[in-house]
Symmetry: C2
DNA sequence: AGTTGTTTTAAACGCTTGTTTAAAACAACT
DNA sequence: AGTTGTTTTAAACAAGCGTTTAAAACAACT
């Protein structure tokens, strides 16, 4: 059952990643995690203090591992044009989501009812991503755009990406799932084009203040 | 404690809406729901068969109530220009989210681990929304755009809106929360402009097939 | 072989959950 | 007043949870 050939701690982390991904924090049980790891049920408390301690370590490992494999610049030169860097950012985001998610989703799942320590951890881990996107948008947006416009554009871009995540799979048709590298590339190009058009529109709006606005 | 002056069934529905919204389906307990309604704990099973029966009724009531109050056309004439109808659609979406959500979120919350009956119910309820957006996009997109492009644009728009929902509140800064009507109007205009720009970009891309694409 | 400290187990604890049961309270009608 | 059927309660049930405990297995070193 439990994959031998590695330490108990590693096996627990692996099975915990599976089980938390399938059932979420509340739905996952220590018993099932230990069953899949092939060990007794008290070892979680022995190695990770408690259930949340194990969860935090799984979360951190998944997050940093995904960023290590798909960094937000995707190895692109930092002097590349911002359009290409935006595309790389979106591509990396989509790859990380499908990598971490698989059929299920762990990251961006429990964020509905997160414990304070999880919020802190997530904020810490997501910091470099936010920084990268801000840098890209600073170059793409007109200098006269206010800081809030930048935030709204970032929100629109992240929102589009996240909606392709496994957590919202039930909403979409199967056609729009990221189930192959080709599909990821296609969605990357769509979101990139859509967003560049959106950014252009925001820039134009900034030029012609006084927008038509229906009641 | 429990607001008197209405039937037990109504009081249960009301407190269940609160508790499910705060803790989600799995986190909510029948005992807490009944405590807030001021009745014994067996009445949920008496009136609604079981916990899921109560949840489905709460979900349906919330969803249809929100659409009744903020219909996807916002009372706009159906001959209005598609730009305005898109704006109205986005506005209604945001209003429904904040209305249903409040501090917490019920709809679009348990969709991560939904029961089969909840999926069925949600699909049924969300149908008219999808239909409305499709109609709008049909007018906005070039006739030569394929059906998939329409789906991707719809996904981008819904994704942007949903990311302002209460479920992802922890991700954003407080500035980008929909905590007043003015903020909703502002976000509506941003998402509308951004999306119209995005749609225009998709239309243009369709004209000039053979897009630059970095490795 | 014996001691010491770590790792692992099996069993139990205490608590909470959704649901059921049997009886009590109530209302309506004869 | 008495019967009947519905509504409500309080208590109990069975199952599952995270965690703890005490003892067993193991390894390393003297």
């Amino acid at each position: 059952m439990g994959s031998e050939g590695s330490t108990v701690k590693e096996r627990l982390l692996k099975s915990a990643t599976e089980v938390f991904g399938e059932f979420g924090f509340k739905g996952a049980t220590i018993r099932e995690i230990c069953r899949r790891a092939g060990v007794g049920i008290s070892l979680v408390n022995y190695y990770f203090r408690d259930k949340e301690g194990l969860y935090l370590e799984v979360y951190r490992e998944l997050f940093t591992g995904a960023i290590r494999e798909y960094p937000p610049d995707m190895g692109l030169d930092e002097n590349a044009v911002p359009e290409d860097r935006l595309s790389a950012f979106i591509r990396s985001f989509l790859y990380r989501m499908t990598m971490v998610g698989g059929r299920h989703s762990l990251i961006m799942r429990e964020l509905l009812d997160p414990s304070p320590s999880l919020i802190r951890l997530h904020r810490e881990l997501a910091m470099p991503l936010q920084k990268t996107l801000t840098e890209i948008l600073t170059e793409l947006l007109d200098p006269q755009c206010c800081e809030e416009d930048l935030g709204y554009c970032a929100t629109s871009i992240i929102g589009q990406c996240m909606f392709y995540g496994p957590s919202t799979q039930r909403f979409r048709q199967r056609i729009f799932s990221l189930d192959s590298d080709e599909k990821i590339e296609l969605v990357t190009s769509i979101i990139t084009a859509f967003s560049l058009g959106g950014i252009r529109a925001i820039n134009e709006k900034e030029h012609t203040k006084g927008v038509i606005h229906e009641a």
